[in-house]
């Protein structure tokens, strides 16, 4: 069973500081990992992704790190802004298997 786990249901970070969101996974092989962001009353939106052949992917203020030996995925947001306050979901999929498996989410609150 391929799972992703987000063990922190919530996180508060001061504006301008770094936000680090974490995700652990099991039984990976040629997976693709993604982060989605969700505002209340809206559908999730894709944020950033990384394939299992890479260790890092960066897009502006967002960087995703993949530690394959620890089976750990993290999303860094720096500097954090009030508009980053949302629920963040990590997700995984296999190449050729289009189903996404999501974590339970982490609610990020940026304190002005």
């Amino acid at each position: 069973d391929q799972q992703v786990k987000q063990n922190s249901p919530s996180l508060s970070v001061q504006e301008g500081r770094i936000s680090i969101l974490n995700c652990d996974y099991t039984n990976s092989m040629f997976d693709y990992f993604l982060w989605y962001k969700k505002y209340p009353a809206e559908g999730p939106t894709f944020l950033i992704s990384i394939s299992s052949i890479k260790d890092k992917n960066e897009d502006g203020r967002f960087t995703v790190f993949l530690n394959k030996s620890a089976k750990h995925l993290s999303l860094h947001i720096v500097p954090s802004q009030p508009g980053d306050s949302a629920v963040y979901f990590c997700a995984r999929t296999n190449f050729g298997n289009e189903k996404l498996t999501f974590g339970t989410g982490t609610r990020l609150t940026i304190i002005p």
Binding site: L34, F46, E98, G103
Partner: protein, 113 residues
């Protein structure tokens, strides 16, 4: 707009009634997904369509749940004899490739009294 459209946005029904939820994917997207999010829970996979066929329907919780897709476009999710535990936000998403980048609609909030 050009995004994924879902209807109704809100549905309140009585226990035992049937409900039908509709999803209009982004034009040209061959893959379509249904997920649901119960209160305080993560996103639970229900079913996935590639064109009109459903290669993976492993997430449908019971035989009261069914879904179809016609013309490679619109999909309907039907829940028969609704129960209170069916209350959730039902999210539809579509995609045009297999990189995992899904485009979600705003969801249909179902409340079963």
């Amino acid at each position: 707009g050009a995004g994924v459209s879902q209807s109704p946005s809100n549905k309140v029904t009585e226990k035992g009634k049937d409900v039908e939820l509709r999803c209009d994917p982004i034009s040209g997207h061959t893959a379509l997904y249904w997920y649901r999010q119960s209160l305080g829970q993560g996103l639970e996979f229900l079913i996935y369509f590639q064109g009109n066929s459903a290669p993976d329907k492993s997430g449908l919780p019971s035989d009261r749940f069914s879904a179809e897709r016609t013309g490679g476009s619109v999909s309907t999710l039907t829940i028969q004899r609704t129960q209170q535990e069916d209350s959730a936000v039902y999210l539809c998403a579509s995609s045009h490739d297999n990189t995992g980048e899904l485009f979600f609609g705003e969801g249909s909030r179902l409340t079963v009294l």
